[in-house]
């Protein structure tokens, strides 16, 4: 077990290293931007995985925290100076805001059963969307507004590195988080809330804390997203963002943490390639059909998500080798 872990970490290290070296060997901006985009959505999807994969909460309102981060950063950059200081400050403010909001929303709504909770989050985030739409003095409504990014990010490579660093940092922190004793209880809450309670853990505390953590990380992703576009509008609060996070998490594999990163990569890259193909081959003009078919095939061939299914396969192979027979032979007592 120990060994497997190290092996995994080794692989991840190589991956990260490759990504660090990447901008030096390739000066394709498209790729830098695409990868930055993937990293940002990876962070968002990982935060969603904390909810869906580890705590078993389906939320349809995750975009609300993403949007909070995006708007906080955008507004602060626009109203104050676009400096690195303000950027980090805005990130912090966004996370704080998301934390406070998710805390109260969690407290209010997490008592509800699954579907009802999911729909309530949809309602609350819908209300935030309306708020952003209406509070035009601040948000410029549906059209949105552009702003200047800090000088430092003029070179997109710098921003690329920052986002990559954030991704690694968030991954490490969340990995720690889910593998901590606290994280194990989260899984228990997902499995059987009532039993968790009778073991002396208060499920509501766990769920609220998980949703705060998820909200805060989503807000971080939102901040980065806004800076990557130097623009924000109400689309950051839309259902689409939540669905993207949801799809990435599921395609990659829920409850695996690395899965959402893989999922974000898969979705963004296939989208990129398919829409590229559309230009060359008329048959791909309706490339979204192929995109949809990929989702369908993903469920059929990777029922637990790409990472989840591969892990399962590997685990099976391992256990087959050592042949853990479920039926244990015991010496007769006689």
């Amino acid at each position: 077990m120990k060994q497997k872990f190290q092996w995994n970490n080794y692989l991840l290290g190589v991956g990260v290293l490759a990504l660090v070296i990447f901008p030096f060997v390739s000066d394709s901006r498209t790729w830098t931007i695409l990868l930055t985009q993937i990293f940002i959505f990876s962070i968002l999807a990982m935060s969603y995985d904390i909810l869906l994969g580890y705590t078993g909460i389906v939320s349809f309102g995750h975009a609300m925290f993403f949007g909070m981060g995006a708007y906080t950063t955008a507004i602060m950059m626009k109203k104050a100076e676009p400096t690195m200081g303000i950027f980090f400050l805005s990130m912090g403010v966004g996370m704080l805001l998301a934390g406070v909001v998710s805390f109260f929303i969690g407290l209010l709504t997490l008592r509800l059963k699954s579907h009802f909770f999911a729909m309530l989050t949809l309602a609350v985030s819908g209300l935030f969307l309306v708020l952003a739409e209406k509070w035009r003095t601040l948000t410029y409504g549906n059209d949105g507004f552009t702003f200047k990014a800090p000088e430092f990010f003029k070179d997109r490579m710098m921003f690329y590195f920052l986002v990559l660093a954030m991704l690694v940092l968030v991954y490490i922190c969340l990995r720690r988080f889910v593998n901590s004793p606290f994280g194990r209880v989260l899984v228990a809450v997902r499995e059987n809330e009532q039993r968790t309670q009778s073991l002396g853990f208060n499920p509501l505390h766990y769920k609220v804390i998980a949703s705060v953590v998820a909200g805060v990380i989503a807000s971080l992703a939102g901040s980065l997203y806004a800076v990557s576009l130097r623009f924000v509008n109400t689309s950051v609060l839309a259902m689409d963002i939540t669905l993207d996070a949801l799809l990435m998490t599921i395609i990659g594999g829920v409850g695996t943490l690395i899965g959402p990163i893989v999922g974000a990569g898969i979705i963004e890259l296939t989208q990129h390639y398919l829409s590229g193909l559309a230009k060359e081959y008329p048959i791909f003009e309706r490339w979204i059909i192929f995109f949809g078919i990929i989702y369908i095939l993903a469920v059929i061939f990777f029922p637990r998500g790409v990472v989840g299914t591969i892990r399962e396969k590997m685990w099976k192979r391992q256990s087959k080798k050592s042949e853990v027979k479920p039926v244990t032979k015991k010496e007769g007592l006689g």
Binding site: G144, K154, S228, Q271
Partner: protein, 391 residues
């Protein structure tokens, strides 16, 4: 991973001296449009118009000032982040000299800063948000599309007059609010009175409550600002507003949307374009070629816009003798006039908004045409539709 390498080496190779083309030179233009998703129809119109426009402006040679013109179209999917991705790809990899786009205001706004960053001219077409040439303006932005304010001014010109009482009805978001605010100003300038402003959830199934209020207010005109497929026309007819003496006015949209406006036959309003309205050679050419190429279809709402954008670029390049440098072009294009299917357009110096004609029209039923046809009342000249400067 090998794909990545390929991609990255290409630009280097093409900038190298060993490339024969470089001597002659190529002008590259990147066009961003929604080629999939809800705004797909608009994107296609822009695309077709742009292609035809290049052909027209270069006399079919696809060359200007001795340089070949190449166009790359990219689909923004109506998502700002994709728009930025694609725009960057155009600027970095394809190394385009001009950006054109896009179908949605959000996508366009997200791309604006890139034009400035890369110092390339961006022609905005057909996004309408006022802020593009207003608060979010930068000097590299030129817009051939009309903006919301121009619509509003045209809308007002079509119906407003001293003592006329007008109610407005618009969707409850930026597009609606901007449109109504601009309309109100224009209408009041013409001596009319805006007596009621109703806003409705654009996704709502039922607009009768809003219409009920309008009936109670009993204005002379109801001016509707609307976009999007889910429209209120049926309900306006069902509630018999016109029978109650409230005349309806709105902007006539593209042909597909016109087909659902049957209940409004007889209404007076304005339009940005309908293929029979403009009377000039460019338009005649456009209609003819369009029909030929797209099995009899006529150009639609945003086709001439795409064409205008192409013409604007070619004209500018002619003037600069093929110099595509953004900074140099700004001064050339400021104040530049050019002939389009909609007549002469002029980029206003202050905010680079193209002054252009719009059309005061009446919707009529015509035999053999399956939708209400906008019939010209009069052309609203560029002077008449000049919007306020907001940047």
């Amino acid at each position: 991973a090998c794909n990545i390498d390929e991609d990255t080496e290409k630009p280097e190779a093409s900038t190298g001296d060993d490339n024969g083309e470089e001597v002659q030179g190529t002008i590259k233009i990147g066009v961003l449009a929604s080629l999939t998703g809800a705004l797909e129809a608009y994107g296609k119109q822009t695309k077709q118009g742009f292609e035809l426009g290049l052909e027209y402006a270069t006399g079919g040679t696809m060359e200007v000032a001795g340089k070949k013109i190449e166009v790359v179209f990219e689909d923004t999917e109506t998502k700002p982040e994709v728009a930025v991705q694609k725009a960057t790809k155009l600027l970095e990899e394809d190394e385009v000299d001009f950006i054109v786009g896009s179908s949605s205001s959000g996508d366009t706004l997200a791309v604006l800063p890139l034009a400035e960053e890369y110092e390339k001219i961006m022609i905005v077409e057909p996004a309408v948000a006022d802020s593009i040439t207003g608060s979010e303006f930068n000097p590299f932005i030129f817009r051939t599309a009309r903006n919301s304010s121009q619509d509003a001014v045209a809308g007002a010109a079509a119906i407003a007059g001293p003592g006329v009482k007008i109610a407005t009805f618009a969707p409850d978001y930026s597009f609606g609010w901007d449109g109504v605010a601009a309309f109100k100003k224009a209408a009041e300038d013409l001596g009319a009175e805006v007596v009621l402003e109703e806003f409705a959830d654009p996704a709502a199934t039922d607009f009768t409550s809003n219409l009920q209020k309008i009936i109670e207010e009993d204005p002379d005109y109801l001016y509707v600002v609307w976009a999007g497929a889910n429209s209120p026309w049926n309900q306006i007819a069902d509630l018999k507003l016109q029978e109650k003496g409230i005349k309806i006015s709105t902007g006539a949209p593209d042909i597909a949307a016109l087909s659902v406006m049957e209940p409004l036959i007889g209404m007076e309003g304005f339009t940005v374009y309908y293929h029979t309205l403009p009377d000039n050679e460019v338009n005649d050419w456009l209609v003819k070629e369009h029909k030929e190429r797209f099995n009899g279809e006529v150009p639609d709402l945003f086709t001439p816009g795409g064409m205008s954008a192409a013409i604007a670029i070619v004209e500018a390049l002619k003037k600069s003798e093929g110099d595509a440098d953004g900074n140099n072009l700004i001064s050339i294009m400021e104040g530049m006039s050019f002939e389009t299917p909609k007549g002469t357009m002029t980029f206003r110096e202050e905010d680079h908004q193209a002054m252009q004609s719009l059309y005061s029209i009446k919707l009529e039923k015509q035999d053999g045409v399956p939708y209400p046809v906008p019939v010209l009342i009069r052309e609203l000249t560029p002077d008449e539709t000049e919007p306020p400067i907001n940047n």
